[in-house]
Amino acid sequence: MSGKPVAAIVSAGLSKFGNLEGLYSREIFAEAAREAFEKCPKLDPKKDIKALYVGMMSESFEHQAHIAPMMLDWVGLLPIPAVRT
């Protein structure tokens, strides 16, 4: 019934949502990444992941642009390609 897979999700992570006082978005993203990495012990993030695509609606919230390399750094994946979506 279902079509051909175009991609597979092998792991996923989510931070707590809400008023996360005292945390920057980079720290919150690292929390989500940690869950995704820990849930998938067969994945070696540093070796296996080849690119990061990370979304943010506005740099005005934190007065912080250029978030792709920043997030990449905070999840320990420098220096692979990263793009803000």
């Binding site: 019934m1 597979a8 996923a12 989510l14 809400g18 978005s25 990444a33 067969k42 990370v54 979304g55």
Partner: protein, 288 residues
């Protein structure tokens, strides 16, 4: 996809709660038309209130039906330990909450939240190197509409959602009746009612009836927003798309805890940007 990478990470994040509601609303409004919307003082609550008014006028959708969306999503959110709001509310709570942009009241609106989400994606043929329970993306659609709501001929439907859904259903080879669980963009309660219609879960104008009949609650035939949705789980804007996929991933791998839908095999996530100037729809299938 070019096929250049075998494994990639996708995700998103937003930090909003440290700003005032006014400050957040102004930044969010930048996703609407500047000269003809923002400049005249309309922000997203106002834009979705126009849609709600049009829907009420054309289809006799009621404020109580919209309130039922909020009540349902809070009920689901109460079962999600990561949700922004983990408490149930009543129809009366919604109806008596203060007006924001008529007919939308405070409890018709999602909160401003901090949060982040991510997925690890691989090519399908190597997924089992990493896990015994991959979830496959079998359908993907994206479409756009005018940035300004005023440029559209109809406020009661989101064309971009409809088109993105058609693409995703076609690619996946499934129909709305095959969907076991869905996450949709309920930034305001009316948006979830419109999503039911645009995704083909019911006929145009019957979204209010669908929520009233309980079809989309956790124990209904087609549970929608089991995570609590934007309304109760929260809406850190940049994180919302992959957060929807996260919920579907949990549901299809049997990891959704107290809100697990038994035997869920096919899931759908529908996300929206602005007043649905952007829409994406994805269909997910559990591995055999």
């Amino acid at each position: 996809m070019s096929g250049m990478y075998d494994v990639v990470m996708v995700g998103g994040a937003e930090k909003m709660s440290h700003l005032t509601t006014t400050g957040v609303t102004e930044i969010l409004a930048q996703a609407s038309d500047f000269p003809f919307e923002q400049w005249h003082g309309i922000s997203f609550p106002g834009i979705f209130a126009l849609m709600a008014n049009a829907h009420m006028h054309k289809y006799e959708t009621t404020q109580e039906q919209m309130a039922m969306v909020a009540v349902k999503n809070h009920k689901h959110g109460a079962l999600n330990p990561k949700a922004h709001f983990q408490k149930e509310i009543t129809i009366e709570d919604v109806m008596s909450s203060r007006p924001v942009a008529w007919p939308l009241k405070l409890y018709d609106c999602c909160p401003r939240s901090d949060g982040a989400s991510c997925l690890i994606l691989t090519k399908p043929d190597i997924a089992r190197k990493f896990t015994n329970a991959p979830v496959y993306i079998t359908g993907s659609g994206q479409a756009h509409d005018t940035i300004g709501l005023f440029e559209r001929s109809d406020f009661t439907s989101m064309m971009a959602v409809k088109l993105a859904a058609q693409q995703a259903y076609k690619m996946a080879g499934v129909k709305p009746k095959h969907i076991d669980v869905a996450e949709v963009h309920d930034c305001f309660t009316i948006a979830e009612i419109m999503a039911y219609e645009d995704l083909g879960f019911c006929k145009p104008g019957k979204g209010g009836k669908l929520i009233e009949l309980g079809v989309t609650t956790l124990d209904g035939k087609l549970p929608v927003n089991t995570s609590g949705g934007l309304k109760a789980k929260g809406h850190p804007v940049g994180a919302t798309g992959t957060a929807q996929a996260y919920e579907i991933f949990l549901q299809l791998t049997g990891e959704a805890g107290r809100r697990q839908i038994d035997g869920a095999e096919i899931g759908l996530a529908a996300n929206v940007g602005g007043s649905a100037s952007t829409a994406t729809v994805h269909i997910f299938t559990r591995a055999d």
